[in-house]
Symmetry: C2
Subunit: 274 residues, 2 copies
Amino acid sequence: MSAQEDKLTNSLEALARVEDDIDVVEKEVEIIRLRKMAPLYELRGKAITGVDGFWKVVLSQHSDFANYVRAADLKYIDCIKSIEMKWMCLEDNKLDHRNVAISFEFDGIDGDFEAQIVTKYFKIENDITKFKYTGKRTEEDDLRDGELGFLTSEPCQIKWPKSFNNINPSLVSDKSTAEGKKNYRTGMKSFFSWFKWTGLKVGKEFPNGDGLANLLADDIYPNCTKYYTEAQVDLEDENIDDEDLSNGPIELESSGSGSDENPKNEPEHKKRKI
Amino acid sequence: MSAQEDKLTNSLEALARVEDDIDVVEKEVEIIRLRKMAPLYELRGKAITGVDGFWKVVLSQHSDFANYVRAADLKYIDCIKSIEMKWMCLEDNKLDHRNVAISFEFDGIDGDFEAQIVTKYFKIENDITKFKYTGKRTEEDDLRDGELGFLTSEPCQIKWPKSFNNINPSLVSDKSTAEGKKNYRTGMKSFFSWFKWTGLKVGKEFPNGDGLANLLADDIYPNCTKYYTEAQVDLEDENIDDEDLSNGPIELESSGSGSDENPKNEPEHKKRKI
């Protein structure tokens, strides 16, 4: 090996070591951030209980959320009274900072849907032998997931609305008929099937379950107040258009003391019509 | 005001206060992150000096960078030997964490382009009366910039390549002729005009100067090793396609101990053909 090649190899090795240290620091900083945020998220959760329909407005405002669920689910998603997240790394620094428990509190609908609180746990895995169906997986998928980890979850119990009895996968008795198969598949795409999602049966369970979990944990939950405020501003604009200001919504005041992040980093959004 | 309206108003006020506290914490955490990164970025910079053409590869690999500059600039951008950033908040916690100094070290090209080190300072402002041309600005722009702040910069001296004499805005003697005007405008779009960018003369100076500064500070600089590695992998793939492995590049090894961020957050990229 020439002296020049030697120098290059040494430099690239040094660079790789620095990169590993940078990853460790990013992880540490993320845990610091979550630790500082936890009491604020708790205060925020308390304030939200005084704002009827807060999560309905937030989830309607978000452009991407509706893509993960069926239109028929929205009626029950509107019943969500609270969403809370608990990052597991705050109890044990050794766990991955992406491990999270997401809790939903649902209001009920008489005769159709039971009020309930449901918590789903998500955990990063690196062991690719845990996949139960691998038909749709490539060698590249395995390499990446083994290295960076992949999201998994325990199936969790949720009571489905009665109106979904015909598509509820655990109630579809005969999957061999064309109609049974269709209903089963429809039910698997429902938001309620996401609660059974494991991340280990690609193509055989709720699609993009990890995408929905990440959307909630990385965007909707941290930015919920921004989405709520945007929805109110949009509503106000519509009311001004209608020349009817008498019943305008109360706008959420923000002192906005220039402490915001770069405006270019604002979450993208547009409104689903309610 | 009814008791219900009262409760809503109180809750929204509480929510706004929490949101302000969240913004403060985000800012604090960003300063913690930059402080922890500083020594690692210094080590990284030292390692990079041993990798010839590192920044040329990184800036070629990045899909978006080339959109900010003229194709004719690329020859000189390939002369960039080092890029370093110094976040001003590390010296005074009171400053905005987005205030940054970006330094470029250029190799020279005999008879055309002088080797030089140039540092450009960027600073967040909130005083919208500082804008010198406001023709293209809307009331909404003013409200947003006054609240969230906007990026500004001191013009800084850089020696242009001689081959650009005809478009160098400070050398275009007669801007009243059609050719003079055209050359002046072409020169204003050159990467070299970015060094004169102030952020206060929208439409009258280098376009999207803040976009380029943010791209460098928020993406290219923090992720440079990832872009370099991707370029090497792409090059290796091309070499495999050519069935010529003998001169394959040395791949940057990374232990990749699952400590990476969510792979979905990886910077987007594709290659500019060199």
